[in-house]
Symmetry: C2
Subunit: 441 residues, 2 copies
């Protein structure tokens, strides 16, 4: 039955996940020396990556900020540059062994998961868990007189670019996204100097009368706003990145999203970034086929272990809402994570109010069709602006040992920074405490 | 200690694995209708993939040939086109729960595995298991006054191309490999129309006096021969794909391989193709860095679940040799798999002798420094030639319901086909029985 649903549903394309923080930085020996493990060159002109790093230094940075560090360590640096979703660790820990997976050594030897499906490397268990979750939340249409494929979300994004780019065009198709856009888009689009597609920058400035691909991230990374396409031309192909369209971050609309190509990832829904798994819901069979080709050519499918574990976690997540009697000691996942995000955004807005040097976006209230709650978005990232005369907000915060990602990487002013709202509790508390205490430039 | 070894050792770059069979075909309704799920266009001119398929047909094909099918089903089609290493399933099944991995739901939330290392997404446990295995087998140098990185093997191959290609050259660097070469090389090199590198075909024919990348696969896929570089110029960059350099397939030399860039994969060493995991040993730190960049940009790291499971399997594999007392009921892995390959190649050569219509390559005997045995190679693929007047060996075998991959995809004559020697026992027995019975064109 489930398989039929899938074959009648969208193409479901599964792959490895998008929307990570690529940068992490550090202080060394108490000096204000910034270390970019992966730093973007300033203008993203050719998307080349510059690595200026020292593994030992990076190690210190990471251990200090992410391993439930001592208060001494915390007093040194707080790294909120990348969007590592360690906030979710505690919830899954409290779940005990309910989400534990056991994989015998002789399983998953084969390349093939399910040859009944166009994307033969998709585990049916994972596909079913994804469809069940979308039905529960109501955030995306999964049933239509269409099809069901699969692959995996940085990789998914590339797979979509490959699938929708005209194969024999005289010049590469333009890829645009409205600024501020996810900082990895230009890099991923440009790094192989593909003849199929090229990065063409801010969608607001795209005026050419020619085919284009527009990336619509909603809620948006970095600023958390809900978005629609901005280039309004006939020849556009739209890719909707809905990685953050989950009820802990924003209200779910009464009508499920129903776009041609929709991308999702485990990283930002359940928090399992290490699993590197995403999925796409694709209406057009030919696009799903070409995405599958891409995944086959680039990685010959997707790790079975990841899919199996993600399936388990998504199943239990749905169970916490649908079988509450079995989870007396565990709050339903989206209730828990909604409450945690609400608490964090309150803390953050209080800190900004105390400091008086910063501002945050304001979000309109919306009624969530999933939870029935009416609330303003509480995004995974905070798009913080340095008010007044501070022009380089990232440097300013770095001077206070808070590592963030500058607005310039998102096609915006350096007065902005993106800050992860998803670290472990201790780190977030320390961060808001410190931000609150910054009261003069 | 192990970590220090790694930091002093080669860069170890881990990724998703190379060397799969991309094609599978089928018969439909008893008619000889070939269905390519992923078919290469004949000349690989532009490496575009043509998908002419029907999921239901493909399903039948796969189920019939791979799911321990009934003798009736076997009498229909035998699919040995792709190199799915299901032969290994039985060994790991007999191992019982010794290789079972248990992963709690709260583990591996973070993107990061080990920030002490240049390639922060490498699980130290996996890296240590890889190094231990290479030391046991003696097939590659892992200790040198060098470094240790990590990423994952289709992906690894692309990561290496990205890492060694000059970023600002006026034209793409040429990528060559001696024919017959692995059929995916031209496709993977060309499919994104990269401005960094381009496929330039058979290395024997490369005469240009300009920089180039030569892919050296040894033992070679498809023909199983040991290889060295053939283009002998100054400006060449060599990539050694050693996916099949394991003691079940060929004798291990007394001096471990010590090339600048060496690629390996779990798929063909232990048989865990579904895990999609490979690794690279890289001497040059800058190359390892750029490979890491590639993996970060294309998939933001590698599945933690895959690494954890592969670590467990590699550890137990080494244990079966080093702690034989604990494995009384289980033969050491490489002894078991050597014996199985020896049996299969004897069976295959007997069948070819009976039929009189085919020939196989002959391999010189060599003494294996690992096992002490003196033997001729017994590769994972058979490079079968149709003797006499049969020009299209793949079609000829297809008429006998044996699906193989034509020599044309490997830059060679259609008189050759590549046949997987790694299916389940039942399928291989049925195959040799049928081949043996083909005695007239």
């Amino acid at each position: 039955m489930e398989l039929r649903t899938m074959i009648l549903g969208h193409f479901l394309v599964v792959s490895l996940a998008l929307n990570a923080g690529l940068l992490y930085r550090d202080y060394y020996n108490g000096k204000h020396k910034s270390q970019d493990v992966f730093s973007f060159n300033n203008e993203c002109k050719n998307a080349s990556l510059v690595t200026k790093r020292d593994a030992h230094v990076a190690k210190r940075a990471f251990l200090e900020t992410n391993k439930a560090p001592s208060s001494k360590a915390l007093s040194e640096i707080i790294n909120l540059d990348h969007g590592d979703p360690t906030m979710y660790e505690r919830y899954w820990q409290q779940m005990g062994d309910k989400t534990t997976v056991v994989i015998p050594g002789w399983k998953f030897i084969s390349y093939f998961s399910d040859v009944r499906n166009l994307c033969w490397f998709l585990e049916p268990e994972f596909a079913n868990a994804v469809i069940r979750l979308h039905k529960l939340v109501g955030n995306a249409v999964t049933e239509k007189p269409l099809y069901c494929g699969r692959t995996g979300s940085t990789q998914l994004f590339q797979a979509v670019l490959y699938a929708v780019s005209p194969p024999n065009a005289s010049e590469p198709i333009s890829v645009v996204s409205a600024a501020p856009f996810y900082s990895s888009y230009p890099l991923i689009t440009e790094f192989l100097k593909s003849g199929l597609y090229k990065w063409a920058g801010d969608a607001h400035k795209f005026k050419k009368d020619q085919p284009y691909i527009e990336l619509v991230t909603s809620p948006n990374n970095p600023d958390g706003l809900s978005r629609e396409a901005v280039v309004n031309q006939n020849e556009g192909i739209l890719i909707h990145d809905l990685a953050y369209y989950w009820p802990q971050y924003t209200s779910i609309s009464s009508s499920p999203a129903d776009h041609d190509i929709m991308l999702f990832t485990v990283s930002k829904s359940t928090g399992h970034a290490g699993t590197r798994l995403g999925w796409a819901l694709v209406k057009d069979q030919e696009i799903a086929k070409k995405m599958t080709e891409f995944i086959v050519l680039s990685t010959i499918g997707v790790s079975k272990e990841s899919q199996l574990r993600a399936a388990k976690i998504l199943q239990v997540l749905s169970d916490t809402h649908e079988q509450k009697a079995h989870f007396r000691e565990n709050e339903p996942f989206f209730d828990h994570s909604y409450n945690l995000m609400a608490k964090r955004w309150k803390q953050l807005r209080d800190a900004v109010r105390n400091s008086k040097l910063f501002s945050l976006p304001e979000f309109a209230h919306g009624k969530c069709a999933f939870s029935g709650r009416t609330f303003a978005s509480q995004p995974a990232f905070a798009w913080l602006k340095c008010e007044g005369e501070t022009e380089d907000c990232e440097s300013f915060l770095r001077d206070h040992k808070i590592l963030t990602r500058s607005g310039k990487h998102f096609g915006e002013s350096t007065k902005y920074v993106r800050i992860s709202v998803l670290p472990r509790d201790e780190v977030f508390d320390q961060f808001t405490e410190r931000l609150s205490s910054i009261t003069s430039t």
